[in-house]
């Protein structure tokens, strides 16, 4: 609860900082300090919500539930954001003039994330999703003089508005069927009422809208254009932490409220998952730009994360947590390496291992994690997801399909490694790699490997 208030205050502080402080560098230092402080407040929250007493952790007329899981999720995601700010702070400064506002918007996005990890009411979910989305529209278009950036922002905004409308429609239908916005009540009403066509229509509308937010096929069309057009540092954030938050919302709603009706929506969602995996992986193979490849890979990874929603069991919660961390850290790291290069195509990576061994080494660790090679976080995360669905039974075909897709993903991920290590070339760096960058990259690599070796460290609170 403290964290939600703190993040809003931090955002407002930064907006004033933007007026008072003109030096970009000191603005980003202040922002980094505030993010570190926010992480501290999250940890404080984590320590103080030690009892899982159902009465005590509800806020705002039972609209928000702040329990162990949600505070832990908030903490790790804030940690990921801190890593993001430290790794990419320099790149964020380069985007435009209003640096303080960019950081303020990121704080507001985090506020949305905190609401989504703990909502107990459909209205709160809606508010959370809007708080999460609107700053993103602005961030996507923050490079005002770039036509592609403006196009991305407009496209994202229009499509996002449509999906919001669809979601509202779904919530309305659901309210008509269940006569409540509260998650537990909906669950109780839906199972008592038996099959209600209105409720089912509501579930499908909400599913489509959420699938849009997590860029699942066939609602993924906006993703490559927006990710490609938006300024790269913000793409990195949208594709990782924000996506994890959307998944949290998806998972919480479907596990708490709709799990009784899982027989009615599992097949639809399974097909969406399969389509997401197929389109994400197969299209990624044909990309020439690593940035666009990462956009499609984020669709493919979303396919894997959907596994958590499909599996109605405890493994799903642990799995989404591990997956969110592993995927976010590796992708942020990969973007950090990418932005050090001038040329974003595969050829731009040629010979990087000779030019800067550490950069290439870090990139290969991130690639291994994304591809799901053992001893990295990505492997454990994928394994958790597969296990969660396998426990569900019946969906063995989806598991085998997902593994086939994982094999395809090796093709486009390893092209980066082939370029870096086995091809000749002299890649041009866009900015020199400083000691601080190296330190952060090593730290991020260590985190990826730690996740793969000792995942229980990150699951103790679940």
């Amino acid at each position: 609860m403290k964290a939600i208030i703190a993040t809003t205050i931090c955002g407002i502080i930064l907006m004033f900082t933007g007026v008072m402080v003109n030096n970009k560098k000191s603005v980003s230092t202040i922002a980094a300090l505030l993010f570190a402080g926010l992480l501290g407040i999250n940890v404080w929250d984590l320590v103080t919500t030690s009892v899982d007493d159902p009465g005590k952790n509800l806020f705002f007329n039972d609209m928000l539930r702040i329990d162990h899981f949600s505070t832990w999720f908030n903490t790790v995601m804030t940690g990921c954001t801190l890593i993001y700010v430290l790794l990419l702070g320099k790149e964020i400064r380069k985007v435009g003039a209003h640096v303080a506002e960019y950081f303020a918007l990121i704080f507001f996005i985090l506020c949305g994330l905190y609401l989504l990890s703990g909502y107990n009411n459909l209205l709160m979910m809606f508010i959370g999703i809007e708080i999460l989305s609107i700053p993103q529209y602005i961030l996507a278009g923050s490079d005002k003089r770039n036509l592609k950036s403006s196009e991305a922002a407009l496209k994202y905004f229009l499509m996002g508005s449509f999906s919001t409308g669809i979601m509202l429609m779904g919530i309305t239908l659901l309210y008509g069927a269940a006569r409540s916005f509260e998650l537990m009540n909906i669950a109780a009403m839906l199972s008592a009422d038996g099959l209600n066509p209105m409720a089912l229509a509501g579930i499908m509308f909400i599913m489509v809208a959420l699938a849009f937010k997590v860029s699942a096929a066939p609602m993924h069309m906006w993703t490559p254009d927006v990710y490609d057009g938006a300024p790269t540092p913000f793409t990195a954030f949208m594709a990782t932490v924000v996506k994890a938050a959307a998944f949290m919302a998806f998972l919480r709603l479907f596990q708490t409220s709709f799990s009784n009706l899982s027989g009615h929506w599992t097949l639809v969602l399974a097909i969406i998952t399969a389509a997401t995996l197929l389109i994400g992986n197969v299209t990624a193979v044909f990309q020439q730009s690593v940035k666009r490849m990462l956009a499609y890979s984020s669709i493919a990874q979303a396919g894997f994360m959907l596994f958590a929603v499909l599996a109605v069991n405890n493994f799903a919660w642990q799995g989404i947590l591990i997956y969110a961390i592993a995927y976010s850290v590796a992708t942020i790291g990969m973007f950090a390496v990418l932005m050090k290069l001038k040329d974003y195509t595969y050829d731009g990576f040629n010979g990087l291992a000779k030019k800067d061994p550490l950069l290439a080494f870090a990139a290969s660790i991130f690639i291994f994690s994304l591809a799901g090679i053992p001893l990295t976080g990505g492997f454990i995360a994928k394994y958790y997801m597969l296990l969660a669905v396998a426990q569900q039974g019946q969906l063995m075909w989806l598991i085998i399909f997902a593994l086939l897709m994982a094999a395809i993903s090796v093709y486009y991920y390893f092209r980066v490694i082939i370029a870096m290590y086995f091809k000749q070339g002299t890649p041009e760096l866009s900015s020199p790699v400083t000691g601080g960058d190296r330190f952060m990259l090593i730290l991020t690599c260590a985190l990826v490997i730690l996740l793969g070796i000792a995942p229980q460290l990150f699951l103790n609170k679940v």
Partner: protein, 478 residues
Amino acid sequence: MVLILLILVPLLSGVLSFAIGNNGAKTLAIISSMITLILSAWVSGANYSDVVSYSQEWIPRLGTRIDLLADGMSSMLCLLTGIVTLVVMLSNANKEVERPGAFYGHMLLAQAGLMGVFLSVDALLFYVFWELALIPVYFLCSQWGGEKRIPVTFKFFVYTFVGSLMLLAALIYISLQNPGMSSYSWAEIVRAGSSLPASQQQWLFWLVFIAFAIKMPIFPFHTWQPDTYEQSPTPVTIILSALMVKMGLFAVLRWLLPTLPLGVAYWGNTVIVLSVIGIVYASLLAMVQTDIKRLIAYSSIAHMGLMCAVAFNYSVVGMHGVMVQMFNHGINITGMWLIVSMIEDRWGTRDMSRLGGMAVTAPRMAVAFVLIAFANIALPLTNGFVGEFMLFNGLFYGDGTAPRIATMAIGGLGVILGAAYTLKMVQRTTWGNAVEMNNAKDLSINEYAGIAIIICVILYLGIYPRPLLDLTASVIAQ
């Protein structure tokens, strides 16, 4: 404790080798592989009295543990890994490789992965090492290999990675049959797998078998192999063909046969037929090769095919033979590759038609080559004879339903063809018109050391195979 050291010593010295870069990496690699060899010899020695094991918690939530166990078969393969790695390092000692820090680092990491595969008795841990052994070899082939190395090794990597993923799917499915999902230990997996109904075991069998068959490789999953062997630098070819290939067969014996007995019973004959086809096909292809590296690559497919056929034709003596032959084949093929690499260094070609007269120009090398070739075609008094004799016994006395005479006859044909192409190769390189060497030298000291170890093992186990038989006998008893 000593088992975890078997993995940690090469792992840490591999990482260290990356760190120290180019000075001293070679020395470090030799020292590290000596320590590993001593450790593995100690484990094998201790195995006569009791089984060495190590157990520690890893990821409690998934129920997976770091469970290592060295029975006769695993300690034998660890010993093989120790010997082969040391021989490779020694015989490479007088050569300069590009970026030695990275090269030896990858070699040592691959060794750590192999040790892990041979020692793990926890299925998830086994899978982790199975993958871990692959990655460094992929880097080695693609960075230090021949001209066409990038596409060829990428094919190799994707091939084996797909296999691994199928294995993973089967592993998840089997572990879920365990009520409560508490453990991946060997005993639990075997119990869960063998209690599945036959219909499920039959499709699970293929998921697992293909993963292992790609590694071995068994016809028709072998297409990556000759190209990869040809394009890899020789030290890596040795690691691949002497050790990594054994991973597949080892995994069949350790995991597949006990876990899915009904699946194996149902598909066993199909596998035997595939293996026998592979023997003849690979032997015929070996006959027409002119590049000696490709010739040996095909001969390796034939040898592995024979071992695989016997493994699926249940019999005590056959199983025993497979284990013994795994060791022997590893030793012999290492010897063959060493000679090939020496030939390539000295004459700058691997084309048989442009070679000849080694007996005149480099007599010591020629003697070594002839000896190793004899072991490879299993002449009596070499180690190959003992293993091959037991293999054929196994083919004949098996409990399987495969037609004995036919498999025996075709398998025997493979041996005859094997003698034919191996002797042809020896003849064309050793005798005939002498071709001048680039830099006239017979064996150098470090090459002597490597070759001497190989020949000692060949002759010792050819004359007195008892230690090897005893070491693996305890596994057969189970």
